[in-house]
């Protein structure tokens, strides 16, 4: 149990704080700066996380936690009465429109209740939810595709297939009245067209009359939190009397968990590399903050050492004195931190759009997180930094001997043995002065030089971005033009490239290389041995259906085949073999796909095909599936896992010879892959073997000159815009723009960082100069009294300032020169698009600027000094 003397110590701390206004302002500035850095970091982190989240859900079409599929009203009642279910929504899908105009993105016609509508990100711009009759709501893009004006009351005619039924008789066409609409979200995978419940009920009647089974409702549910959705769902189902396992049971119920909640979000974004970066940045900020806050307090404590000695005399213990200093620091934090939090948040918000561009998330999903975690974490880190920074000065004050209070000699705190100066030369005096408080001097040098080194490093990094490396690495060709489905995989069959369009492009550009890419459509497999099949089953993620082996013991494993024209085949990277054989009509040759990593193991893999081996590919027309549990065909919606056995019927085999192992550049690949044996064949061979199933999907071309490239860029760009076809393209120009944006982002980041650290360094310098002057106020006064002119005093101060700044510049220069080669090799290893080069230009540029600062600040401070007369300054000595 201790004596209660906190109030007294607090009073001393607070009052002594108020006497030193200059130091307070600088300290608050320093604290705010550091807080800004922390807050920016955390704002960006949290915003990335929330943006990712939103992005994911919008791409999935909704953010409900989970769904029970195809449930009856009774089942709905049972389920929704469970206590875990916080909210629920119903949706009945009655039809899909996948034909024109919804070829690119299909439309789903359904009834959604209020909750479901909300959870599908539908926010009406105008109008209301459909309530009666044939009211309908849809998005603006759908309206545009249907050629309808976004005006309430407009008539809309839609044709769609009855849900689940795919023959002609199941097409329904009906006319609705637009009751409301919303802005289309580019991320949304489908167009939602929502009708009334009334309509759905009528529709169901109509469907029953036609002899089809009635349409079922899906129940979307929300729990109180998104933690562990799956087990909650299972609990609800089982406790309500349903089973999720046996698909044939009476009480079987189908369910689905929203994939957005099953990812471990953390590991997606926060790779070890990212975490290392974040940590490095945090440490950098702490270090910067430490430098300046430590210095500020160190100087102020040293100047107040007599005061602390006095306190010790009266009976203030070391612990209490440390507390005084801590109270002062924390009081300054109370002002500095909020300022820093606000500004940091703003800065983070400004930088977020730039970051989003870098990731593969769409800019539309950008959400700036305002989670309190940001502010709490930043404040905590800041307070931690402050406490750590003031620890040593606190110890200095606490360790003072009480005799200090009684000493009448005026010194800058610590008496040191001074070597006799050879005369009173200004420079030697200046140097001697700096030797007085070695710690302070070192600190100022370090923070100034540090800022410069960071500046140089950032500049080095950004300038080293090699554009051509970037472009060359990602592209095989200057241009790739194809159907939009090729670039944006949206599922299902991709549209073919119109050969006429291809011709037009070939004619209107001046290609030095003309390539054509084709895809073999249909269900394509290769024949595998039992060993190969076993390997496939082992490495394949997720459950695979069992396969009934063929009579000769072979298994079929899905694969893709891409076909190139001879010109395009030149772009392939050959690991082994001879690709010219692809065009050899004497045989059927195929080049198996591999990559740099995998190819290393091919030689030793007994299951791998070797160059010269035969490989059999086949097209499959029919597969029979059997549910082993029921002995019959699997019902609707059953998962194809090990409970299902597949039997391949109606297979046409074709034999090929492996002529090579190749790697294909991404930009001209199929942009998708299997775990089978994907391959490349020549287009002629393809047409011969697979006939109609060879679909042109893109063309790729190179241009020779810059002028040609520019012309081609313009033509293709226009073509893609104007033509009614679904076209998209990639070109070097686009890549260049991407690169510029990327580079600018880093430049922005680095710039902000440098500015802040630079400000810290300069603040430190200002503080050191002013404190030094104030501490020596009396000395200077005495010097002037004995005959040193004002000009000479100014000279002395300015010399000191210049030594600091220019000296720091020189140190930075030396450090940078040493550091640059080191950085180069490290960064080149990490970032492939970086080309090392030597540059210390920023430092050289900054040195004269520093010189100016080193001159101005002491000069201005000196002006403030001379406002008070010499005599008054001497009188203050007592």
């Amino acid at each position: 149990m201790r004596v209660n003397n906190r109030k007294c110590v607090r009073r001393i701390g607070v009052r002594s704080l108020l006497t030193n206004k200059r130091r307070n302002i600088i300290a608050i500035a320093a604290i705010a700066l550091t807080a800004i850095l922390f807050t920016t970091l955390f704002t960006i982190l949290m915003s990335i996380s929330s943006t990712y989240e939103t992005n994911t859900f919008r791409q999935l079409g909704g953010y409900a936690h989970a769904t029970f599929k195809d449930v009856t009203d009774e089942q709905i009642e049972k389920l929704t009465s469970h206590k875990l279910i916080k909210e629920y929504g119903e949706r009945t899908v009655i039809g899909i429109a996948a034909e024109a105009p919804f070829t690119k993105r299909s439309a789903e016609i359904s009834f959604m209740d209020e909750n479901d509508t909300k959870w599908s990100y539908i926010k009406l711009k105008e109008g209301h939810l459909p309530t009666s009759g044939k009211e309908v709501i849809m998005d603006t893009e759908a309206l545009k595709l249907l050629g309808v004006e976004p005006k309430l009351g407009e008539e809309v005619t839609i044709s769609f297939n009855i849900m689940g039924i795919y023959d002609e008789s199941a097409v329904v066409t009906d006319t609705f009245t637009l009751a409301g609409y919303w802005e289309f979200d580019q991320l949304c995978p489908v167009h939602f067209i929502n009708v009334t419940k009334e309509y759905v009920e009528d529709f169901n009647k109509m469907v029953a009359e036609k002899g089809y089974s009635s349409l079922r409702t899906d129940l979307d549910v929300m729990f109180s939190s998104s933690v562990d959705v799956e087990s909650k769902l299972i609990k609800v189902a089982e406790e309500s009397g349903f089973t999720l396992n046996q698909s044939d049971a009476e009480n079987y119920i189908r369910f689905g968990v929203n994939p957005g909640y099953t990812f471990s979000r953390g590991s997606d974004i926060f790779t070890p590399g990212t975490i290392a970066c974040i940590l490095a940045f945090a440490i950098l900020v702490i270090f910067t903050g430490y430098l300046i806050i430590y210095n500020i307090f160190q100087i102020s404590v040293a100047g107040d050492i007599r005061f602390y000695g006095l306190l010790k005399t009266i009976g203030t213990t070391s612990r209490q004195i440390k507390r005084v200093i801590r109270i002062q620091a924390l009081a300054l934090c109370i002002i500095g931190i909020p300022v820093g939090l606000l500004l940091g948040f703003g800065l983070g918000a400004i930088l977020m759009p730039v970051i989003i561009k870098m990731s593969n998330m769409s800019g539309n999903a950008l959400t700036i997180s305002t989670s309190p975690v940001i502010f709490v974490a930043s404040a905590l880190f800041e307070i931690l930094t402050v406490i750590v920074s003031t620890a040593k000065p606190g110890r200095l004050a606490a360790g003072v001997s009480p005799v200090e209070a009684v000493k009448y000699t005026e010194g800058s705190g610590i008496t040191r043995k001074r070597k006799t100066t050879k005369g009173a030369k200004v420079v030697s005096m200046a140097i001697a002065n700096m030797g007085r408080n070695k710690k302070k001097t070192v600190l100022v040098f370090v923070s100034l030089a540090f800022a410069l080194v960071i500046l140089n490093s950032v500049n080095l990094f950004v300038e080293g971005f090699d554009k051509e490396k970037w472009i060359a690495a990602s592209d095989a060709t200057d241009f790739v033009v194809g159907n939009t489905g090729y670039f944006k995989f949206m599922g299902g069959e991709r549209g073919a490239m119109n050969p006429e369009v291809a011709e037009a492009i070939k004619d209107n550009t001046n290609p030095s290389l003309w390539g054509e890419g084709y895809e073999i459509t249909g269900y394509l497999v290769y024949k595998a041995t039992e060993a190969q099949h076993q390997e496939y089953v082992d490495t394949c993620p997720g459950g695979q259906p069992h396969q009934k082996p063929q009579e000769d013991g072979g298994y079929y494993i899905g694969s893709y085949i891409e076909a190139f024209n001879p010109a395009l085949a030149e772009s392939l990277k050959v690991y082994e073999g001879d690709i010219s054989l692809l065009n050899d009509k004497s045989g059927r040759y195929v080049a198996l796909l591999s990559d740099d990593e995998s190819f290393k193991y091919i030689k030793d893999d007994p299951n791998a095909f070797k160059v010269g081996d035969k490989i059999t590919y086949a097209t499959v027309k029919q597969v029979l599936a059997l549910d082993k549990r029921t002995g019959e065909a699997p019902g609707e919606g059953v998962m194809y896992d090990e409970n299902i056995e597949e039997e391949f019927i109606d297979v046409t085999e074709h034999e090929f010879t492996v002529c090579a192992y190749v790697g294909v550049p991404y930009s001209i690949s199929l942009r998708k892959g299997t775990f089978g044996k994907d391959a490349i064949i020549g287009v002629d061979t393809a047409k011969e073997v697979f006939g109609e199933n060879v679909k042109p999907i893109f063309v790729a071309l190179n241009t020779d000159s810059e002028a040609d490239e520019a012309a081609a860029e313009q033509y293709i760009g226009n073509l893609v815009e104007e033509s009614g076809e679904e076209l998209g393209y990639e070109s070097k120009e686009i890549k260049r723009k991407e690169f510029e944006d990327f580079k600018n982002m880093f430049a922005l980041f680095g710039g902000v960082l440098v500015i802040i650290i630079g400000m810290v360094g300069v603040l430190n310098f200002i503080n050191a100069v002013m404190a030094g002057i104030i501490a020596r106020k009396n000395e200077i006064a005495v010097l002037q009294a004995i005959g040193m002119t004002g000009k000479q005093v100014k000279e002395m101060l300015v010399t000191e300032g210049l030594i600091y700044t220019v000296g720091a510049g020189v140190i930075a220069l030396v450090l940078s020169t040493v550091l640059v080669p080191l950085l180069n090799s490290t960064i080149e290893g990490m970032f492939w698009f970086y080309s090392g080069h030597f540059s210390v230009t920023p430092v050289l540029v900054m040195i004269p600027i520093f010189a100016i600062i080193g001159f101005l600040i002491p000069a201005i401070s000196y002006k403030g000094l001379t406002k008070v007369s010499v005599v008054e300054r001497i009188r203050e000595l007592g």
Binding site: N5, G315, V403
Partner: protein, 226 residues
Amino acid sequence: MNILEAKGLKKIYGEGENKVNALRGVDLEVKKGEFVAIVGTSGSGKSTLLHMLGGLDRPTEGEVIVEQKDISKLKDEELTIFRRRKIGFIFQAFNLVPVLNVYENIVLPIELDGAKIDKEFVEEIINTLGLSEKKEALPNQLSGGQQQRVAIARALAFRPAIILADEPTGNLDSKTGQDVLSLLKVSAEKFSQTIVMITHNDEIAQLADRIIRIEDGHIVSKGEGR
């Protein structure tokens, strides 16, 4: 009974060429309730001796025993608290805390100990020393004499057993000095406090029960009862 004892005190400052032998083996006893004056030429080591007695500084050799306790054995923190409760200091340059007002300065040692302030007693002291008008004033608003009176009030308020004063009237004119010192003597006698005071003023030295003369780090005369 000795309230203060010094045995073989030696103090050396600095090193090598700059070595200063401030005290060269000092023995001293002070009885409880005595008023002892220490006189000597400047540089004789008087201040150093006083600092040792109050635990402000540690001797190079020797012991300082206060109230039968060897304070040279105490740790820093213990020594500070010991000073807080037992010793009142009055220095030549007042040494008031500039950010606290008169009242707060006076009760500071009490508050540092978290003890209850005997308000009546403190009021009495303030009145006796003629500071009632200036209770809320800051040190820089007071004259030299007033500041010294505040320092004395501070040394009396927590009723320390020992009062150590180093030329307390050095910065005051003779009349003020005499007043201040009379007040001190009367108060100390009233509360049976022991005073050890350094002075170069004969008149003041005569107020003491005993005069100790120190010269060049040695005690040359211990003075006996007068």
